[in-house]
């Protein structure tokens, strides 16, 4: 046991001597002032292992090989062609009123229910019609969260109309978040609350 122990010790010391990766030779030179005299006190134990050649003020180091600065020019990217939409806005037919929501909320308010009933009735009377529900938000908060919130508002609106008997396949949805406010005159609540809305668009097949 003891023999093994001694052997391990010998091996280990061997490792100390050889085990480190090759490195710059640490010169046991005296400590040089490092920026301020106060810092020297703190750094007294530090050995400065710089292997820079000792340079006197009048002797200049070789100019290092030149660096050529280049940059890839930013050419314009061509946005991908997007498929033309299958349905476009039908402007002449029935005009639905917007419904409104409370700040950071997507539940249908009682004051919106009569409007949704009217919309559902119209949909049931015109079985060929398709509509798009746009979810919108006020500018408070961040775009991404507001896009998710607008999506929830559109979905809550659709679900309500579907519950009144309209086939869900006849209703498209999109969220515009805070990106398309209808009131931009001020940042007052009076204006902001008009932007927290679901908006209805009657669609027709493109080209017809």
């Amino acid at each position: 046991m003891k023999k093994i122990f001694v052997l391990v010790l010998i091996l280990a010391f061997g490792l100390i001597l050889t085990g480190c990766p090759p490195r710059k030779i640490v010169q046991p030179e005296p400590v040089k002032p490092v920026v301020t005299p106060e810092e020297v006190k703190e750094k007294a134990v530090e050995v400065k292992p710089e292997v820079r050649p000792e340079v006197r003020p009048e002797v200049r180091p070789e100019v290092r090989p030149e660096v050529k600065i280049t940059e890839q020019p930013l050419v314009k990217a061509e946005p991908k062609e997007v498929e033309a939409p299958k349905y476009i806005e039908e402007k002449v037919v029935f005009k639905f009123e917007d419904i409104h929501f409370d700040f950071d909320k997507y539940d249908i308010r009682p004051d919106a229910k009569p409007t949704l009933k009217t919309a559902a009735d119209w949909m049931l009377k015109n079985p060929a019609a398709k509509i798009l529900i746009e979810g919108h938000c006020c500018e408070i908060g961040t775009n991404e969260y507001n896009l998710a919130l607008g999506d929830r508002r559109a979905k809550a609106t659709r679900d309500y109309i579907v519950a009144l008997g309209v086939a869900s396949g006849r209703i498209e949805m999109i969220s515009y978040g805070e990106e398309r406010p209808i009131c931009t005159e001020s940042k007052e609540e009076e204006c902001l609350k008009r932007n927290r809305r679901a908006h209805f668009v009657v669609l027709k097949e493109a080209g017809k």
Binding site: R23, V55, R60, I69, K80, D104, Y145, A148, L149, G177
Partner: protein, 429 residues
């Protein structure tokens, strides 16, 4: 038996100790290798007084001014005004001209204009009276700013031991009469360039870790899709599309996968997918909103926004969706999380009173600090060295892009007054 075990136990300890010793020994000696003039990681560091005389030759003033502005913005240097200089630019460096005015480092340079601009720069240590950096740079006239930023990076590296950010860029969204588009500019707001990428709505440009790609979302013809821009070929590719709202989150550090928010299954939830379009995985499934995923630098955690607790708050979970915890508890509306490059801080936008402000917090929900107070401030993200933050603000009456130090100091707008700009992201390198 017991006795024997004990002996083995103690010799095992010795064994561990003697094998650990060389490791410790190696670590000790690597730690003291380079001389650092400013220890920027020390909370009590002192600003280094630096003198940057106007460079001689054509465009010398412009180049030396850019270098001065770069170094000054870091807050690590005390720029000594040129009017105080004793030594005139044509004289050779003499420490006795600089120590009386308090300079500890001096940058001198000369410019020649042939086909290219050729700049020779020297950096001097006044205490030791010696040159600690000398280098020659060459660049076409149109690259005068990247040229100057490269010189500033070398000076910064020599004095602090850290890599400078002066050649980093910022991707952002701006609006003109043709709609919204993605733009790129230098970190200091110069050289604003359109990528040509447009959409009715286009947002959330996010860099890949190597800076070679941008992922973003756009609404075109009532369709929300996620796109990838490859800077090497300058081509755009659609990486994900479905009915509903799809928003880019982040490219994972390995560069093959991305995370995003989508309502494809009915609810705003988080997903991951490869950039090739396969390996789709769902990361959250709740009845609430989950949006704005941001992956930690080590790729292990995802910060995101959820209203599962009744209001928009920031949460952190592991990449496999386990271990979800809420990290913001103050305020009823906290969004847009972004990680510091070391992963030790998260910056976000929080609503307080009637405005949105930028806050910084540790991922374990400690050390909440408010960084802004004026106007509405949103979309924060860190510089690659973690020392600065870029964000959107409307404090000057319109949306523009601002930068500040990570402690909230030196806030300034970097986009021009006539450009409505928002959604900035600092490049990772």
């Amino acid at each position: 038996m017991r006795e024997k075990f004990k002996v083995q136990g103690s010799s095992f300890k010795v064994l561990v100790f003697v094998f650990l010793l060389p490791t410790v020994y190696c670590l000790l000696f690597t730690a003291v290798e380079a001389k650092v003039y400013i220890d920027i990681s020390s909370p009590a560091f002192k600003k280094l007084p630096i003198a940057i005389p106007e460079f001689s030759g054509p465009s010398g003033k412009e180049i030396s001014d850019i270098i001065r502005d770069d170094l000054e913005f870091t807050g690590l240097f005390l720029n000594i005004d040129r009017s105080a200089y004793i030594e005139n630019p044509s004289q050779s460096f003499n420490p006795r001209n600089w120590s009386p005015i308090g300079a500890e480092a001096v940058v001198k340079g000369s410019v020649k204009e042939e086909r290219d601009l050729i700049v020779i720069v020297s950096l001097y240590d006044v205490f030791e009276g010696k040159e600690i950096l000398k280098k020659e740079y060459k660049a076409g006239r149109e690259l005068i700013r990247p040229l100057s930023h490269t010189i500033a990076n070398d000076i910064y590296k020599t004095l602090t031991g850290e890599t400078g950010i002066f050649r980093s860029r910022i991707a952002f969204v701006a609006e003109d009469e043709d709609g919204k588009g993605i733009y790129i500019m230098d970190w200091d707001g110069n050289r604003i360039t359109s990528t040509g990428l447009k959409g009715n709505i286009i947002l959330t440009p996010r860099w890949s870790r190597d800076g070679s790609k941008l992922i973003y979302s756009a609404e075109r013809n009532r369709q929300w899709s996620i796109y990838l821009l490859d800077f090497t070929s300058m081509t755009e590719r659609k990486v994900f599309s479905s009915k509903g709202t799809n928003m880019a989150g982040d490219i994972l550090p390995e560069g093959n996968d991305f995370i995003f928010s989508s309502t494809k299954d009915g609810n705003p939830d988080l997903y991951s997918m490869s950039l090739k379009g396969d390996n789709s995985a769902r990361l959250t499934s709740s009845h609430s909103i989950e949006v704005s995923p941001a992956v930690s630098p080590d790729g292990q955690c995802i910060a995101f926004v959820s209203d599962r607790g009744g209001s928009a708050q920031i949460y952190v979970m592991r990449r496999d969706s386990s271990d979800v915890r809420r990290i913001t508890f103050e305020g009823s509306y906290n969004t847009s999380p972004a990680w510091s490059p070391k992963g030790d801080r998260i910056v976000f936008s929080g609503r307080r009173g009637a405005t949105n402000q930028i806050f910084i917090i540790n991922p374990d929900d400690t050390w909440l600090t408010q960084l802004t107070t004026q106007g509405n401030n949103e979309d924060p993200s860190f510089s690659p060295d973690g020392r600065h933050i870029v964000f959107t603000s409307d404090r000057d009456g319109f949306k523009g892009i601002y930068i500040m130090r990570a402690n909230g100091e030196s806030q300034k707008r970097i986009t021009p007054k006539n450009l409505r700009a928002f959604g900035p992201r600092w490049s990772p390198i």
